[in-house]
Amino acid sequence: METLLKFWHDTGIYAMEPGQFAMMVVAFVMLYLAIRKGFEPLLLLPIAVGTLLVNIPGAGLGWSAAEQAIRTGSPEVVDQFRALFGLAANADTAALLDAYHQAGTILYKQAVALGGSLGFDNGMLYTFYSMTIASGVAPLLIFMGVGAMTDFGPLLANPKTLLLGAAAQFGIFGTVLGAVLLTHFGIMDFSVQQAAAIGIIGGADGPTSIFIASKLAPELLGAIAVAAYSYMALVPMIQPPIMKALTTEAERSIKMEQLRSVSKLEKILFPLAVLVLVALILPSAAPLLGMFCFGNLMKESGVVERLSDTSQNALINVVTIFLGLSVGYKMSSDAFLNLDTIAIIALGLAAFCVGTAAGVLMAKLMNVFVKTPINPLIGSAGVSAVPMAARVSNKVGLEANSQNFLLMHAMGPNVAGVIGSAVAAGVMLSYLG
């Protein structure tokens, strides 16, 4: 009978908290978006499953060895954690968990080590998170694979479109300012690190967002990752109204001349040039841009095709699976179901809008100075979200002039946006890290 009761208490039906139930609903919404609506399924599907798994009551997939020990350990075990956190002998589980979650880095690491040395294991998702995201390795490897998939040809044919990729980063920093203002007026309570991590959503670059959030505001990582990937999927809906509002029909019809062909040597030298600039100007961007350029160099050099293939396929796929599940670890109800998430969603949308607008306006500004005019529609591609944003530019351009193919021209600012937001990320790490 006692055993039956214990079993009943172990079941999810008995133990499920409302927050966990709500997060499961969130997970199903994400699955719907990923599978039926095609919202960045490569990431959102694993994130959704990770969210489901981490919210299974009592399974403890997201608990570290310390949390396992505090929640399920014998009184003697728990006493050791009371001692570690300097709590009174009558402190209950909630107080212990509170102390554990509030602990600074040093104390936190000691707690996890203590749990491990007492024979408790880290939960599966906690392990994945530590290995892939906390270590910073997974976003970097994805960036390497993205580099190996990127063609800088259109950018090299028209380097001044790099300016469009620069302008679109206003989305990032404008949003940082927005988050800071929300705090200033007492609406929210973000630190500048948190504001920066939220702003990077505007970079429209999933791995960069996860990388920065894991360094500056890991407590917001779940919401930031979900917002970043969702808005990247929504680019075809978010951008066109803004693009049309800021341009005239005539501007949208501007035809751009055929891009010159770019030699193999230029393509090989470009990632090296970026690397050298990183070394000279912004060392803090070295991990992200270093791996990105490495991937691109593997592709363009043409001499390590098997490495390039692997980094574009097997390796990036494996890392994506783990990265997605690991993001789920940050999708617990107390981390996700709060006002912060709503603010992040609102600010993330603002970031995309500001970035899009800044790109378009920069293109219009450039047209004041250059001889051969630029179609301002390609400015919006500067937010990156490769290649979605470039396709949007192409589509809106075709609406204005059915003979106007902007796709290749938009690929220039599109990949420039990747570099731009990696540079922005480097500034944040250097300024706040």
């Binding site: 620069a166 920093f173 300012l177 030699s263 193999k264």
Partner: protein, 79 residues
């Protein structure tokens, strides 16, 4: 102005400044690089040496290889 506000503004100025600085320098670097390449190595780009992939003498005709590769691929997938 609060510390947070000044931090936010500082980050903004600083960040956009660096982004533009970096990308403008990159424009110049790229342009110069391209000009030098066009001038001194005008699509000379010799097919880079591929020591590991040099075809061994006496290989079968191409189509046979294509089909063989596809068959092998197919078989390994079925497992």
């Amino acid at each position: 102005m609060s510390q947070l506000m000044s931090d936010g503004l500082g980050l903004m100025g600083f960040g956009m400044g660096t982004v533009f600085l970096f990308l403008i320098v990159l424009i110049f670097a790229t342009t110069i690089m391209s000009k030098l390449v066009v001038k001194f190595a005008p699509e000379a780009v010799p097919a880079p040496a591929k020591p590991r992939t040099a075809p061994s003498p006496g290989v079968d005709p191409q189509l046979l290889k294509v089909l063989a590769a596809a068959v092998k691929e197919h078989r390994s997938r079925r497992k």
